[in-house]
C-alpha cells in the first residue's frame, strides 16, 4: 500500500471512530443517570427520590446511588431536577451501588 492510501485509510478510520462514538454518545442522551437522593423511596425502580446531576456523585456505602432512566420525550434536565414520575423507563441492570454524595 502506498503512502497516500495509508493516509487516506488512516483518516477514514479516525473519522469513522470519532463519528461512531459521537453518534452513540448522543443517541444515549435520552437515557440519563439519576441519583437517588431521597431514601424515603428506597426501591431503585421507583422514580420518586431521584434527582439529576451531570457529574459523578457516587460514593461507596449503600445500595442505590444512581440508576439510568430513559426520560423519553421529557426535556433534558439540569442539575437538581427531579426525575419525572411518569413517562420514564427504568433501565434494568443500571443501578450503581453506593450513595449519592452531593
Amino acid at each position: 500500500m502506498n503512502k497516500i492510501k495509508k493516509v487516506a485509510l488512516g483518516i477514514l478510520m479516525a473519522g469513522l471512530a470519532f463519528g461512531f462514538s459521537a453518534f452513540t454518545t448522543v443517541k444515549k442522551r435520552s437515557v440519563l443517570i439519576y441519583y437517588k437522593v431521597n431514601m424515603s423511596y428506597p426501591n431503585a425502580n421507583d422514580p420518586r427520590g431521584y434527582e439529576y446531576y451531570s457529574g459523578d456523585m457516587c460514593a461507596p456505602g449503600g445500595n442505590t446511588c444512581s440508576a439510568q432512566w430513559d426520560i423519553g420525550t421529557h426535556l433534558p434536565p439540569t442539575d437538581g431536577d427531579a426525575l419525572p414520575i411518569s413517562g420514564v423507563t427504568f433501565q434494568t441492570g443500571s443501578v450503581y451501588s453506593g450513595h449519592a454524595d452531593l
Binding site: F18, S21, T25, V26, D56, C58, S66
Partner: protein, 149 residues
C-alpha cells in the same frame, strides 16, 4: 556419544506481512484513541467530575479532562502519516503505559474508586480495563518490534 543438535526455530515474517501487522496495530490505536476522545469530549463535564474524585488528579481534573482527549487526537493524527507513524506508536505506548499505571495504582492502592469510568469501556470493571490496556500495550510493543527489524 551422540551430538545434540539444537534446532532453533525462527519465525520469519516477510516484509509485507510485517508491514500489514504494523499498519493493523496503528489503525487499531487510531480507532481506539479517536473513539475514546470523542466520547470524553462529548461528556467532558461528567468526565472531569469523575477525575476530580481521584486522589492523584484532584484539583487538576478540568485540565486533565481536556488534556487527555486532545493528546489522544494529536497522537491519532501523528499515526495517520506513515513517515512519523513510529513516533506516534511510541507516543501511544507511553500514553497506554500511563493509563495502565494509573489504573493499577487506583486498584491496588486501595483508593476509593470513582464510580463511573466513562469512555468507550464504561461497562468494564477497573480490573477488566487493566487487562484491556495491557492488551493494547502488548500490541504496541509488537508493532514497534516488528518495525525495528
Amino acid at each position: 556419544m551422540g551430538t545434540t543438535s539444537i534446532k532453533q526455530i525462527h519465525f520469519q515474517l516477510s516484509t509485507k506481512n510485517k508491514e500489514i501487522i504494523f499498519d493493523t496495530v496503528v489503525y487499531l490505536f487510531i480507532v481506539l484513541f479517536m473513539y475514546t476522545a470523542a466520547s470524553k469530549l462529548l461528556t467532558i463535564k461528567s468526565f472531569a467530575s469523575t477525575l476530580a474524585k481521584s486522589p492523584l488528579i484532584g484539583s487538576y481534573s478540568l485540565l486533565v479532562a481536556w488534556a487527555i482527549p486532545i493528546i489522544e487526537i494529536a497522537i491519532s493524527l501523528v499515526l495517520i502519516f506513515p513517515t512519523i507513524r513510529k513516533t506516534g506508536l511510541w507516543a501511544s505506548l507511553i500514553l497506554m503505559l500511563a493509563f495502565t499505571t494509573y489504573l493499577m495504582y487506583m486498584v491496588f492502592s486501595g483508593s476509593e474508586l470513582p464510580c463511573h469510568c466513562g469512555g468507550v469501556i464504561s461497562k468494564m470493571t477497573w480490573q477488566q480495563h487493566i487487562w484491556f490496556n495491557l492488551g493494547f500495550l502488548a500490541l504496541g510493543i509488537i508493532g514497534i518490534n516488528i518495525n525495528k527489524k
